[in-house]
Assembly symmetry: D2
Homo-oligomer: 340 residues x 4
Amino acid sequence: MIIVIRQNANKEQLTLFKTTLEERYNVKVNTWQGVESTVLGLIGDTTQIDEDWVNAQEVVESMRRVQEPYKKANRKFHPDNTVIELPTGQTIGDGSLCIMAGPCSVETEEQINYVAERVKRAGASFLRGGAFKPRTSPYSFQGLKSEGLDLLKGARKATGLPIVTEIMRVSHIDMFESVDIIQVGARNMQNFELLKELGKIDKPILLKRGLSSTIEEWLMSAEYIMAGGNNKVILCERGIRTFETATRNTLDLSAVPVVKKLSHLPVIVDPSHATGKSSLVEQMALAAVAAGADGLMIEVHNDPKHARSDGAQSLTPDQFDRVARKVFALKKAYDEIMAE
Amino acid sequence: MIIVIRQNANKEQLTLFKTTLEERYNVKVNTWQGVESTVLGLIGDTTQIDEDWVNAQEVVESMRRVQEPYKKANRKFHPDNTVIELPTGQTIGDGSLCIMAGPCSVETEEQINYVAERVKRAGASFLRGGAFKPRTSPYSFQGLKSEGLDLLKGARKATGLPIVTEIMRVSHIDMFESVDIIQVGARNMQNFELLKELGKIDKPILLKRGLSSTIEEWLMSAEYIMAGGNNKVILCERGIRTFETATRNTLDLSAVPVVKKLSHLPVIVDPSHATGKSSLVEQMALAAVAAGADGLMIEVHNDPKHARSDGAQSLTPDQFDRVARKVFALKKAYDEIMAE
Amino acid sequence: MIIVIRQNANKEQLTLFKTTLEERYNVKVNTWQGVESTVLGLIGDTTQIDEDWVNAQEVVESMRRVQEPYKKANRKFHPDNTVIELPTGQTIGDGSLCIMAGPCSVETEEQINYVAERVKRAGASFLRGGAFKPRTSPYSFQGLKSEGLDLLKGARKATGLPIVTEIMRVSHIDMFESVDIIQVGARNMQNFELLKELGKIDKPILLKRGLSSTIEEWLMSAEYIMAGGNNKVILCERGIRTFETATRNTLDLSAVPVVKKLSHLPVIVDPSHATGKSSLVEQMALAAVAAGADGLMIEVHNDPKHARSDGAQSLTPDQFDRVARKVFALKKAYDEIMAE
Amino acid sequence: MIIVIRQNANKEQLTLFKTTLEERYNVKVNTWQGVESTVLGLIGDTTQIDEDWVNAQEVVESMRRVQEPYKKANRKFHPDNTVIELPTGQTIGDGSLCIMAGPCSVETEEQINYVAERVKRAGASFLRGGAFKPRTSPYSFQGLKSEGLDLLKGARKATGLPIVTEIMRVSHIDMFESVDIIQVGARNMQNFELLKELGKIDKPILLKRGLSSTIEEWLMSAEYIMAGGNNKVILCERGIRTFETATRNTLDLSAVPVVKKLSHLPVIVDPSHATGKSSLVEQMALAAVAAGADGLMIEVHNDPKHARSDGAQSLTPDQFDRVARKVFALKKAYDEIMAE
């Protein structure tokens, strides 16, 4: 951490500040004395240092970190890719392309079983489906709740596909015990209490990027889970909010290579929520593969016109067949090209 | 609600769509037939209609609401201002200017009592202070938790100031029973499970605007609380995220008159979090008053340099004295000018 | 165009408004009378109707276009892709992938000739290079100006590669007469006077998307050029400004399929400016191909460390060799996959 | 300037880099050697140093400026406020509140003379009006052009009000010779060729902030004008582009105190363009005064319903009377409060 000291800083205050840094945070402070300004360089583990506190000091002009504020999620300290392996054998982050597919909301037994069967046949290795739905309006359909969870488990039994579904409150963690991957939605990316509790369990967590979260904040939210002891975090880019209105959000595909440089965690991409339009899903799924994503999350509904939520962005099973075929073909070509 | 039908829409599908609308949502559908396009006009309570479902229909080109999607928070249906009155007599939204002041985090008994005493003397009518702190980093100070709540209650007892403090999880609602105003932070504005539960209690809720939330989404979150039966919602503008880096967020003061037109709920402004810099608080507090805000939330710390969080944006008690004096003087002038 | 009339609109004013619409804009106005609101539907060419004027009418609650406000750039009226052909045979928009490569700034004869030779050998079909540079700071290098143009022409003579370079003022149009493709930079996307003049010449214009421009505004700027008679417009996505700081801008790859649906104009992608980091160029170039881009614009410098501008995002010729090889290989695979 | 060197930097390269810095930019380079990283501190005038070039060096991990990149616009080097004085006596930046009012577009002689007369009587000290209009659509009204300039001069003659009007291309500078204040619109804030030419004349320039420009970029554009020798720059905040759609742009009032700390130039606020709604102008004009603005730019039209552009945000002369009365009353109160 580099701290620039104000030009007119009081000498005594500066000495006190340096002592406090060394004592409170157990770091070594080096001073570089320039003509117009003084700069402090801190050596040691600075992730514990509170930026707010530093910025509040009268002697401080500004500061910047040289190290990232996250440790467990940081590739510098864990150079190898994290690979998530499920007891049933599926993997995420080992270089293969995993597809999580299914309806936005679980609606009926026939629906979820039919969709599960179809996406499995097309090559998806996970079934996604919402039982508890975060909806902007209190008057919109909020999901089938525990009944939806039961239907998902039924579809898992029928197809063998592990299930991915979203949790919305801490008190539901027990109810989600037999869920294979627990999803944290974009709106809960900084629900720190939920993250802390998910850090205490031993189950993969799929962490969606918040609508206006920086990549650093996203990795800090992963760090929250990992700080609790759960290292099985999968990141999911799902679009950020910008001024553009032609798409629901703006898919930030450069986040994929950026995260892969900064972190060892797997990153998947959700083109359905990012664009909000089924007609854009195929093209952005292909682009995500070429950007180096470890997987895709795609909405598939047996009958999008009658979907109780997010129908506008759902593919039909037939459309999904075509998209999956192209995506896997591109992935194969991509791997050969990158291996050269 | 106006729905534009695709040029090449199938007649049968269109008929089916109209019947479904009328039966599922109990609205009347009028058809206006143009040369190049057909437009449907829906009459009745359209707040229940799911936009996603409409947009997913093959016959639909696009749609737009004529009515806002919120009812209880809507000024059209409740023309009079909502005034929040506390049992101890303080009011918010009655035309007076309320100030909620105090430290970002409660730290010690001496600290909170001293600050409470000072802000009361300067004219604040509420004591704010964080016991549970939402921090971006798991390694930052997370608040004194229940001990912090006890210290706040102690300061209330000593000064008579009602307390405002942030809740972060549903299971804490019982613990917050004797808190006077429960705050929902920006990061939890769309923690719908929390909003639902807060809708079931009878206590004012201060709802901060999310970092990237539109005004409509903010009002929909208020609607979540109100839909549960709790109409005591206070809105708090605290800055939105933009590309600008000179301030921590961009304070959107135009949100104040916009919300006042759309809704009957009181709106206050938090210049401390919005700017992130104590040197900008005075000016933006004055601007908020002139924008028509019902109140201000201002961070005050006995010793910002040693604050355990957000010190950079905290005023000292002496600085707060001056700001409060100016703010009340401007409010007086403003009221006289607007009354003419 | 659909216009929603205020609930309490004065009858006489409404009649006057409708008459004015019909007379001033030569459209037919249909009225649909609902219970709570009246809606007008306009038939005819509404691209001429000024939204500001409509919104300013007292009787108007709100309005929305059913048709896009652009005509010449609109795929609805020109279903076939526009293909740009140069006299020297190069094409853009015909399904092939064109690469425009070269240094941010032209610096010396040796530099530009060497880079031109290298990018040609690697498969680029155009040489890009800046002679006039739009720099944020007046103290930064502003380009070699007319001397830079001469050097570009020399490199063209040596390699046969057509040249693409940026224009910054109307009075330079004559000087750019022998340039093959004239580039309009992001900061000049709404320099309407420049666009108008470029509409009068017969030469391909590469129009970069503005930093905070919507896709609709971008297409309206293309419309400015086309309205003057020059239909040879190539669109270039180069990243938009968001809150994210890990990359210089956020590359909006979903803009590629969105533009291809809305317009018949070719779209290329500039991963160098979008990310601002050479280490991200390869991955985002591949992603752009899979998103369906017609071409790429990539910065290549013989010696990025000594580049006089934008060195941080430039590839070396050796790096570009590898990127071009991968990009063309992926394009081949992509075409085969999409042709199935 | 502080430069952080990569951990594994090559010693020879580092030495070469330091020598180049000292020789090319005439600065002194101090080296601070930490355990994990090396930091360079540069002393001297670093405004000339190209950040792109620094970032492109292989040995460089990252850099940050300690000094701002602008000099002439910087308050550090010019502590006193710049006051713009017109030959006719009007002043901007001397602590008084100046109002520039008038129609978006000049339309007829009667219109402009009537509006000029009315805004003068209400207290405006400048007449604003557009002769050349930057319009998103090529099919929208583009202004009366030179005829509009003549009408403005006529209104000036009739009322004595100096005129403010927008320039859109370099070749018009001669035509604008008798304009009192030349406005550069938001879309041309980084039309560097125009800025350079305006730096060569001796006339106040009103520089609007770009839709997505940071405050630093805005001040750099002012620096472009000042670097040419023209120090008479007036900054105008007019809203930035965000995701919010309830207002046309988001008025960033915190930019006023931020600019006043960083620069000595006067800052005015345009609530008409920022909000895009006449119903919000009064409230935001008052807020701008309380934020410390030196002036206001407000659109006034004799007949907003028939305005040829931007009618939705224009006040009628009667509305402007009321707004101006309140604004001046608030300014008086504000000055008394701040003087205490």
